[in-house]
Symmetry: C2
Subunit: 309 residues, 2 copies
């Protein structure tokens, strides 16, 4: 269970949770266990997602199921989920039953949404859907990524900072929802773009891996809708094959068609629009909060969507 | 998520939990949510186990991952685990925070032990261990099966029946541990024997499937230790192949050697000894409890270890 944790990534989610807690005047010590639960669940999701997506690489090395086999990797993810439950339970003492239980409810919603989002995406792949439009994609992205990676980290951080304001209604946690959605969608689209145009050394996953996996990104969705009839047939045919039957030629062809139809440009524009909306929301939601953590969150936002790796 | 629940098996675990609650004078209505959590987790385990063990059949039809594919099946099991967390949280209201939290702790231990047991068994298969003796097997069986299927159902049932006696120490939940271990091990060995000698129609799984899966049963362990050198080499060779490379001839040979070395007889004797020990413990632990549910539990115990299907 230490395997993914010890080679952990950027720690975006705990950083967002802890910084939001401090921005709202809280002591981030009180949020440490919740941040750990989040990172533990994130890594558990990654282990299972890597199997579900048939990924090969993660953080610059082979995925767990490639090294230990699928059976032990599934079980390891389950083990991390059960340790997360234990940490949540330990939280109830220090936070007090009322706030502790609200944190449990945040995690409950987070889990349900993430799993539903994953079910949507896997269902599209299984059904070989080629008419995934921007609205479908954004709904999936909200469910699969935004709640657990962006919205709930901020909600939980603010809740732990100001439990009485949340209980009285003076602080409405739903205020974070739109901001987290805009930022999360911008981040995810950027991440999907990097998967197509980045370099494996710095990105840590195989380039074009999403095309091998048949992942319904905004780019693939746009291509599926824009492409001419014979190209659509070729795309559908290629994506109906098992993953191993997709060749580097197939992937190169998809990339070339994406370039032809401006799919990547389209996605980058969408990410920029979402980022602009996120900046507006950030200014509104974090107005009047404490400055060193608030400034950190501003830089954090810029980093997320301008990073090249 | 309804898929395995709606074709659910015998409901042994909820039955044991609810009957124990009533035997100890409780109202089984109060235990209903906990019984549902248990059945939900059991079915979530089965979905993941069937993938991990590369099983083909469950309850007379193809396993979920054979029908929906591995990705959606992993995600479905995760979804059921997260719904179990939600039910546990709902439990805290009706049971009160103190008893509700004790129930959470019971489930925490149950999850940890089951996942460790699964890790042990999968590790033996991965490492192609052939020196799994009775002590190794029983330890794995305690962890993987007995805690969640036998010991914790009784502990939780009794806890909900008599929360004050548990809090004061008048009722010690550890009293169920030995009984649940003996009964659970007898049940598991019997289940493993049926996998080798049962009929697929009534058993619902493929006959000899455990040998295809390389499962370290008491019989395979005994054969590995008893077999002559060249037979050991053949066994090791066969079990080092991927599952699909094991032929019906291989499986028939293993069954024949088990018969030669008395492996199945040995396991049946062990199950009978464990059952005798379980009967003693049952009489001791349930002495003075209420009779209709107590009589039911006695019959339940007989059914478990004498059933042919």
């Amino acid at each position: 269970m230490r395997d993914y944790i010890e080679t952990s990534g950027k720690g975006l989610r705990p950083a967002l949770l802890l910084a939001t807690c401090e921005a709202f005047g809280g002591n981030s010590e009180n949020a440490r266990v919740s941040a750990a639960v989040l990172e533990l669940l994130h890594n558990a999701f990654l282990i299972h997602d890597d199997i579900e997506d048939q990924s090969d690489f993660r953080r610059g090395r082979e995925c767990m199921h490639k090294r230990l086999g699928v059976p032990l990797a599934i079980n390891t993810g389950d083990g991390m989920q059960s340790l997360a439950l234990r940490l949540l339970r330990q939280n109830l003492g220090p936070l007090g039953p009322e706030t502790g239980m609200r944190v449990v409810d945040e995690f409950d919603h987070l889990l349900q949404q993430s799993i539903e989002g994953q079910a949507l995406e896997l269902g599209w792949i299984r059904d070989n859907r080629l008419n995934v439009d921007a609205s479908d994609y954004l709904r999936m992205c909200l469910k699969k990524t935004c709640w657990y990676s962006f919205i709930h980290p901020m909600r939980i951080g603010a809740l732990i900072a100001r439990p009485h304001d949340v209980a009285s209604g003076a602080l409405n946690l739903d205020d974070f929802n739109a901001f987290g959605f805009f930022l999360g969608a911008a981040f995810q689209i950027q991440d999907d773009v990097l998967n197509l145009v980045g370099s494996q050394d710095s990105y840590g996953k195989e380039i074009g891996g999403d095309i091998y996996e048949g992942k319904r990104t905004l780019m693939l969705g746009q291509l599926g809708l824009k492409a001419e009839e014979p190209e659509q047939a070729r795309l559908a045919e290629m994506l109906s094959n098992p993953r191993d039957a997709r060749s580097t030629q197939d992937v190169a062809w998809v990339l070339e068609r994406m370039s032809h139809y401006g799919s990547i440009r389209y996605a980058q524009d969408a990410a920029n629009d979402l980022l602009a909306a996120a900046r507006n929301e950030f200014a509104r939601v974090f107005a009047g909060t404490e400055d060193p953590p608030r400034a950190f969150l501003g830089q954090f936002m810029d980093y997320l969507v301008t990073r090249q790796v």
